[in-house]
Symmetry: C2
Subunit: 209 residues, 2 copies
Amino acid sequence: MILHGYFRSTASWRVRIALGLKGLVAQQVFHHLRQGEQRAPDYLAINPQGLVPALVTDEGAVLTQSLAICEYLDETHPEPPLLPAQPLARAKVRAAAQLIASDIHPVQNLKVLQRLRDLGHDEAQVQAWARAVIEEGLEAFQALLPGDAGRFAFGDRPGLADLCLVPQLGNARRFGVALRWPRLTQIEAACLELEAFKAAVPGVQPDAE
Amino acid sequence: MILHGYFRSTASWRVRIALGLKGLVAQQVFHHLRQGEQRAPDYLAINPQGLVPALVTDEGAVLTQSLAICEYLDETHPEPPLLPAQPLARAKVRAAAQLIASDIHPVQNLKVLQRLRDLGHDEAQVQAWARAVIEEGLEAFQALLPGDAGRFAFGDRPGLADLCLVPQLGNARRFGVALRWPRLTQIEAACLELEAFKAAVPGVQPDAE
C-alpha cells in the first residue's frame, strides 16, 4: 500500500494512526501542501480532487477521504476493531468522528483559510476564524462522549473517534486554542502512550519541517 | 423513531431519503434554522450541537451526523443496502458521500455563510463563496464516479452517494450554480423517479415555505 499524505494534514494523520493500530505498514509519499504539490499533474492523476490523503491499495485501487479509508482498513483487517460491534454504539462513534471530519476540519483547513485571505482578511482574522470553528467543534465533540469515562473517547480501546480527536487537538494548538476540555486532553494523553499514535504525529514524519 | 430536521437542510434531506429507501417511517419534527429554533433549549437538550438532523430511536437514543445515521439505518435494516458488499466498493461509495458531506456542505452551510456576513461580506460575496465551493466539489464528485455508468452514482441501485448528491444538487440550484455535469443531473433524474427521493424533497415537507 502507498499512503499519499503530508506531515501536517490532520486527515493524513488519521490514516497513519489507523494503519498503526492495525499493525499495517504503507509506503508513504509526501506532498507539500503549502507549496501546492497536491496540484501537480502526477498527483492529480492519482486523486483528481488534489487532496491528501489517498491510499493506493496493493491492487492499485485509489481510495480517498480519510474516514472511508479507515473504514476500509477496518473491514479488510478487522482486528483490533476501530468501531464497536453494536449498531447504536457504532453510530455514536461514527458521529463523533464525523463531527470532526465534517464540522471542524473542512471549515478550518488550508483551502478555506486561503479563501479568506483571498477575500482580503488579514492573518489575525484568519486565525480567529479557525479558532472559533475549532472551539465550537471541540465543545460539541465533548458533549457527544459517554458519561462513563473510559480511557479513550468511547471505552477502553482506541478507535475512529480517537484517531480523529488527536490530530484535531494538534491543530487546535497550532492555532492557539486554549484547550479547556480536560476530558479531551486526558484521552489524547492515553492515546499518545500507544506506538500507533506516537509514530503518526507530524513531528516525526520524514517530511516534517 | 423521531427525525428532527428542517425542510431545506441537505443533511436532514439525506436521512429522509435513507428512511424512504428502507421503507421506514419516522415522526418528523421540524426546527426552523433561519429563526434559530435549533438553538432553543429543548432542542439543545436533545442535540447539544444544535444541528439537524438528529434521529431519536425507539429506545430513546439520540443519533447525530447524517452519514452516521444512514449507516445505522443500513446496519439495522440491511435491505435494500445503501452500500455495496465488497470493502473496496464500499470505500468508493463512502468516499463520494463524504466528499459532499465533508468538503462541500459544511463549507457552504448556513453557519459558515453567516460567519462571512459577520465579517462584513455582502450577499454577492457570500453567494459567490457558496457557488465556488459547490462547483469545485461537484467537479471532484464527478471524477470519483465509475466510468461504466449505471443508472445511479455507483451502478443500478441508489445508495449512500446518491442520497448525498440529490440534496447537494438542490442546494447548487438555490445558489445559482450552472449545472454543467450531465452525468450528475442524469443520476438525479433517475433518483427522482423513485418514491423515496420524491417524498424527501424540501418542497413537499410540512415546514416548507
